[in-house]
Symmetry: C2
Subunit: 233 residues, 2 copies
DNA sequence: CGTATATTTGACTGAAATCAACGCAGGTGG
DNA sequence: CCACCTGCGTTGATTTCAGTCAAATATACG
């Protein structure tokens, strides 16, 4: 709370003191950005929108998604703190995806009109952006590989395992809070709500995980979970 | 032939005159690279390899793939002329994918030991690399969206349609040569050889495409092909 | 407490995988 | 020249995993 409050009060000059940017190399960048907060469910970028922006996520989780011709939502990626949203270039045509907050989010927004100049002034920033984009490409390729061949069980187990890695040690040692609803998991993993639910139950029945309630998952057998995730991928 | 021969004779100084780099911004970059040719089937990068490189494809087609735990090959992307292979950074750990030539390939290779300096000297080059990486990210996300929800028919139709766009007007107006075997298409689309074959036959029977033989495809009804590709995606 | 929403569970269906032949070049060697 | 082999593609029969349709809890929320 204190954290969020202090951010909302930030002037542009003080931005660098707000949320932790991913890398020291980004510190000078922060001085050129403005602070922005989003509530859960708020849309930052809408597909087809001509207005573009580039921002760095300081706190919270976002989804990149779009609605396919059949009217079904497909989530093509999640964005965690430190990740960049949008593109730094003006020439790229309209946005192809929606970007929506899945939780309360704090952003450091860089207006596209000045970002090219900012990058020119701070080569390390451009380097960092390139580096992160390459990392994200690797991530998406891993998702691709999973969607191409993995069974429903492996997709669900893999998602839980990866989420656990991202959220190290909450209150309880092996209990994590999933950031997505069953429906959102289905949209991300290319499955249906029912199938996601069934695989969760299957993992619970096998003693691999526990489901204390809500979106919480207790990981009882990490090795078995990893094995289930790898079973075809 | 003349083209290929002249490239092989290039000294480093003359490299810029060889294959067409994607953008005028890359011209100065070419002077810092060396020419290399690969035969169909040759491996440029092997997964797990610590040695990294960065290269720009001038001619030919490559695949980015890896073998999953079940022993099945998954193709996570194709690389066309103008695309970059590998990464410009030394810190990224071992390669995660194989990169293999699907046809005769000409490359402009940049040694990683000097590329950071080259990028520092030519900011436009780094900008171009970032821009292309972002574009590739968009491509992969489209594939992801397709793999998440599209039917076998839509995947195959989409692949044919996209290939046709990439290879504008060969000899015959609406005849294209697929760059992949049925098995490679299956690995790319997350299907089996049999299913790919069946969908091709289905499109042929419906009068959408013709199959003159070999890997050739005659596109008889582009609108119907596009419609089949969009049917769920 | 009651209503709305999310999740689980069950029965059935269907699309693609699997298993299994078959056809068709293109090359090799008798 | 022809028989044989090999790799690639097509076709058919059957199985299976996940989707669809439907209903029963469970949880969140006013």
């Amino acid at each position: 709370m204190v954290f969020g409050k202090s951010c909302n009060q930030c002037s542009v000059r003080e931005t660098a003191l707000c949320g932790v940017l991913a890398d020291a190399a980004l510190a000078p960048m922060a001085a050129h950005g403005t602070q922005r907060s989003l509530a859960r469910g708020e849309t930052l970028i809408r597909a087809g929108d001509p207005a573009r922006l580039c921002a760095n996520i300081q706190r919270g989780l976002m989804k990149i998604s779009h609605i396919n011709p059949a009217g079904h939502e497909v989530i093509v990626g999640l964005l965690w703190p430190g990740d960049f949203v949008g593109t730094p270039f003006l020439d790229g045509g309209p946005a192809t995806h929606d970007v929506v907050a899945l939780s309360a989010v704090s952003l450091c927004v860089f207006p596209q009109t000045t970002i090219e100049r900012t990058m020119a002034d701070h080569p390390a920033m451009e380097r960092q952006l390139l580096s992160r984009t390459l990392a994200e490409l690797g991530q998406v390729r891993r998702s691709l590989s999973r969607l191409a061949r993995a069974t429903a069980l492996a997709r669900v187990a893999g998602f839980i395992a990866e989420t656990a890695q991202r959220r190290p040690a909450a209150a309880e040692p092996h209990v994590i809070e999933l950031p997505l609803s069953r429906g959102e998991m289905a949209d991300l993993l290319g499955l249906t709500i029912e199938t996601v639910s069934r695989q969760m139950t299957r993992l619970k029945t096998a003693g691999v995980i526990g489901l204390p309630g809500g979106r919480q998952v207790m990981i009882q057998d990490p090795d078995a979970l990893a094995e289930a995730a790898d079973e075809l991928m």
